[in-house]
C-alpha cells in the first residue's frame, strides 16, 4: 500500500521580487513500513521537501504538484484540515532537538501536547500512562518525565522528540537530520532506535540526511537530490552497497558523495571532497545542474537537462546522459 505519493512537487520561494525554485518536479513514493532516505548536500531542497509533506513550509513558499498521504491530497488543504492529519497520520522529527523543545516546560507536558490536541477526550491518567510508555519505548526512564530539556543530554532530547512524534500513532514519520549535532555513539543509538521502531510498528519513514552512512543503515530505498531535483533513486543496497552487495551508484554526483565519505570496510582510500558549490537556483539552468562540478561532463550536458531513466531494472533510476547509452 502506498502511504505517501509525491508527484511532480515544486516549491517556489519568493524573496522580495525574486523567485527561487528549491524543489523542482520531485516524485517520491513511500509504502507502508518502508524506509526511504533522502540524501544530498546542504541547500539541495531536502528539508523543503520534508516540510512540504505536512504543510509546514514558511509563508513565502508556494508548493505546486501533488502530495498524497494515504490518498488525501495535502497541497491546497486548509490549515485546519492539515492539523487533523499532522501527528495522527504524519509526524515530524525536527532538526536540533534543543531548539524544538521549549526550555521552560517539563518534557512530559510537551509530549502530552499532541495527545491533548488530537485526543482531547483521553483521561488525564491514561494520557500520563501513554507518556510513560512512549518514554520507555524510546529508551528514556519514565522517572525522568518531570525533567526539563536542559537536564537531558543531546541524545536523550532527540529520544524525547521521537517519543513526541510517536505520541498519536502516526503511519508516516519524517525525520529531518535526526542525528546531526549528536556524537557518534548517540547517532548510532538514535539510528538503531529509529530502525527498530520503524520495523516493529510498520511505520513509513522518510529520513532526510546528508549522512550516507545513516541512510545506508536505516533505509530500504534512497533518493539522491541535487539542486532541487532527484538525480538518482533506487534500492539502498544497490546504490550505496550493503553487506556483500557492491555499490553501483550511476550518477556522478552520487559517486562523488560516496567518495567523500570514508569507508571502513572497503579499500583504504582517502576520502575525496567534492569541490565547488551547488548552483544558484535563482538563475535558470538549461542543461544538467551538476554540469559545473561534474568530472565526466559532455557537451550535451550543458545543453539538455537529463531526465530520470532506468539504470538496471525499473527500480534504479538516474538522471544522467551517460546512463542508458545515448552518449558515450
Amino acid at each position: 500500500m502506498t502511504l505517501l505519493e509525491i508527484k511532480d512537487l515544486c516549491v517556489d520561494y519568493t524573496v522580495g521580487a525574486d523567485s527561487l525554485r528549491a524543489v523542482d518536479q520531485v516524485s517520491i513514493s513511500v509504502a507502508a513500513g518502508e524506509a526511504v532516505g533522502i540524501a544530498g548536500e546542504s541547500g539541495c531542497g531536502k528539508t523543503t521537501l520534508g516540510l512540504a509533506v505536512p504543510g509546514l513550509l514558511p509563508a513565502n513558499a508556494t508548493p505546486t504538484g501533488s502530495v498524497q498521504l494515504l490518498g488525501e491530497e495535502m497541497i491546497g488543504r486548509s490549515e485546519d484540515d492539515l492539523n487533523e492529519l499532522r501527528w495522527t497520520k504524519v509526524s515530524f522529527i525536527f532538526q536540533g532537538a534543543m531548539n524544538a523543545l521549549n526550555p521552560v516546560h517539563r518534557i512530559d507536558r510537551q509530549i502530552l501536547e499532541p495527545i491533548r490536541t488530537h485526543e482531547p477526550n483521553t483521561a488525564s491518567a491514561a494520557a500520563k500512562e501513554r507518556v510513560s510508555q512512549l518514554l520507555e519505548l524510546v529508551g528514556v526512564s519514565p522517572s525522568r518525565a518531570r525533567s526539563f530539556p536542559h537536564e537531558f543530554s543531546g541524545g536523550m532530547r532527540q529520544r524525547v522528540m521521537i517519543a513526541m512524534a510517536l505520541a498519536c500513532r502516526p503511519s508516516l514519520l519524517i525525520a529531518d537530520e535526526p542525528t546531526t549535532a549528536l556524537d557518534v555513539i548517540s547517532q548510532s543509538q538514535i539510528l538503531s532506535l529509529l530502525g527498530d521502531l520503524q520495523r516493529e510498528q510498520q511505520l513509513g519513514l522518510l529520513l532526510i540526511s546528508h549522512d550516507l552512512a545513516a541512510i545506508r543503515r536505516t533505509c530500504d530505498r534512497v533518493v539522491v537530490m541535487y539542486a532541487g531535483v532527484v538525480v538518482e533513486t533506487g534500492p539502498t543496497a544497490v546504490i550505496l552497497g550493503r553487506g556483500t552487495e557492491k555499490r553501483t551508484a550511476a550518477h556522478p554526483y552520487t559517486q562523488a558523495l560516496i567518495k567523500a565519505h570514508p569507508d571502513l570496510a572497503g579499500e583504504r582510500v582517502l576520502a575525496q571532497a567534492l569541490p565547488g558549490h551547488p548552483p544558484d537556483l535563482s538563475i535558470p539552468i538549461k542543461g544538467c545542474r551538476f554540469y559545473d562540478r561534474c568530472s565526466v561532463r559532455k557537451s550535451i550536458c550543458h545543453e539538455v537537462a537529463p531526465t530520470l531513466r532506468p539504470v538496471a531494472g525499473t527500480a534504479h533510476l538516474a538522471a544522467c546522459h551517460l546512463v542508458g547509452g545515448d552518449v558515450t
Partner: protein, 304 residues
C-alpha cells in the same frame, strides 16, 4: 547493535536559552552578585521601613498649628525628625510619603510593562507590517523628551496619584518593547514555534504558552529598572509641584520644603530624609535591576 535501555544521567547546562544555567531562584542569584546584594539590602530596608514602619512606630497625634513654637522644630525625642512648616511630624511623613512614592512607581511600572511587553510580543511574533507600524510608534515614543512631556501631560490632566501613574506609565514602555521584540524575533524562528504550529496552536497560545515564558526573565529584569526610573520621574514631577497635594509623596515633601523656605532656614531634617529615601530606593532598584540583567541576559553577561 542493541539499544541501550538504561537511562543515562548526564546533566548538561542549558545551551543557548536565557535560563540561568542552573535552576536557582532569582533572589539567590542576585544575592550571589555583589552589586545585586547591596541593592537587595537597600530595597528591603526601605520597604520594611515604609510598609511596616507606620504600624510599629508610635506617633504623637498631629500637632500642627498649636503654636509658633511647634513649626520647623529640629529633631527631638518627641519628633525623631523634627517638624515641618505646619508643625507636622516629619518622620511620619517620610514613612507615609514613601508608600505614595512606591505606589505610584509600582502602578506606573505595571502599566509600562503591560504595554511594553505586550507590544514587544505582538511586534516580534507577527513581524511584517504590524511590526513596522508598532516599531515606528515605539521609535516616536523612544525619542520623545520624556520629562517635558510628562510635565506637560501632568499639568494638562490634573494632579492625582492615578493620573501621575498613568502619565509615567504611558511614557516608560518603549525600551521594554524594543528589548522584548528583539528576543521574540529570534525565538519565533526556532523549530519550537514550527513544532507548536504543526500542533495547530493558535497565535495566542503560541505567544502565551511558548514564547512569553521564554522572555519573562527579561521582562522581570527590565521591570526592576523601569521601576527605579518611574520612582525618580514621580519625584521630579512632585518636586515641580505637579504631584497629588492630598497624597504626599517624597517628591511632594521636597516641594513643600522648598516652597516653605525650609532650605534657607537650615531645616535639614525636613529636606534630607525624603531626598535620601529617593536616592536609596532608586539606587537599590537600579542595582538589583542591573544585576538581574547581567544574570538573565546572555548578551550583557560579562560585558560590564
Amino acid at each position: 547493535m542493541s539499544l541501550d535501555k538504561r537511562p543515562s544521567l548526564p546533566v548538561e547546562p542549558g545551551e543557548d536559552t536565557m535560563q540561568p544555567s542552573s535552576r536557582i531562584p532569582w533572589w539567590r542569584a542576585v544575592w550571589g552578585d555583589r552589586m545585586g546584594r547591596v541593592g537587595l539590602v537597600l530595597v528591603v530596608v526601605v520597604l520594611a521601613l515604609v510598609v511596616v514602619g507606620p504600624m510599629i512606630f508610635p506617633f504623637a497625634a498631629s500637632s500642627f498649628g498649636l503654636s509658633a513654637d511647634s513649626i520647623l522644630q529640629p529633631p527631638s525625642g518627641g519628633h525623631w525628625l523634627g517638624t515641618d512648616e505646619l508643625g507636622r511630624d516629619v518622620f511620619r511623613q517620610v514613612l507615609v510619603g514613601g508608600q505614595i512614592s512606591l505606589l505610584v512607581g509600582l502602578s506606573a511600572t505595571a502599566i509600562a510593562m503591560v504595554v511594553g511587553a505586550g507590544l514587544g510580543l505582538v511586534s516580534g511574533y507577527y513581524a511584517g507590517w504590524r511590526d513596522n507600524v508598532l516599531m515606528r510608534i515605539t521609535d516616536f515614543f523612544l525619542v520623545l523628551p520624556t520629562l517635558p512631556l510628562i510635565i506637560a501631560l501632568a499639568a494638562l490632566l490634573g494632579q492625582s496619584v492615578v493620573i501621575t501613574s498613568l502619565v509615567i506609565g504611558l511614557t516608560s514602555w518603549p525600551q521594554t518593547t524594543r528589548i522584548i521584540r528583539s528576543q521574540v524575533l529570534s525565538l519565533r524562528e526556532r523549530p519550537l514555534v514550527l513544532r507548536v504550529r504543526s500542533l495547530g496552536a493558535t497565535d495566542r497560545r503560541t505567544i502565551w504558552v511558548h514564547i512569553f515564558p521564554n522572555v519573562s526573565p527579561l521582562i522581570f529584569a527590565n521591570l526592576v529598572l523601569v521601576l527605579a526610573g518611574a520612582i525618580l520621574s514621580e519625584a521630579s514631577l512632585a518636586f515641580l509641584g505637579l504631584g497629588d497635594p492630598v497624597h504626599v509623596s517624597w517628591g511632594t515633601m521636597l516641594h513643600f520644603a522648598f516652597t516653605s523656605g525650609a532650605m534657607s532656614r537650615g531645616a535639614w531634617w525636613y529636606v534630607l530624609p525624603p531626598g535620601i529615601g529617593i536616592v536609596i530606593l532608586v539606587l537599590g532598584f537600579s542595582l538589583v535591576g542591573h544585576s538581574l540583567d547581567r544574570i538573565l541576559n546572555p548578551q550583557s553577561r560579562g560585558a560590564r
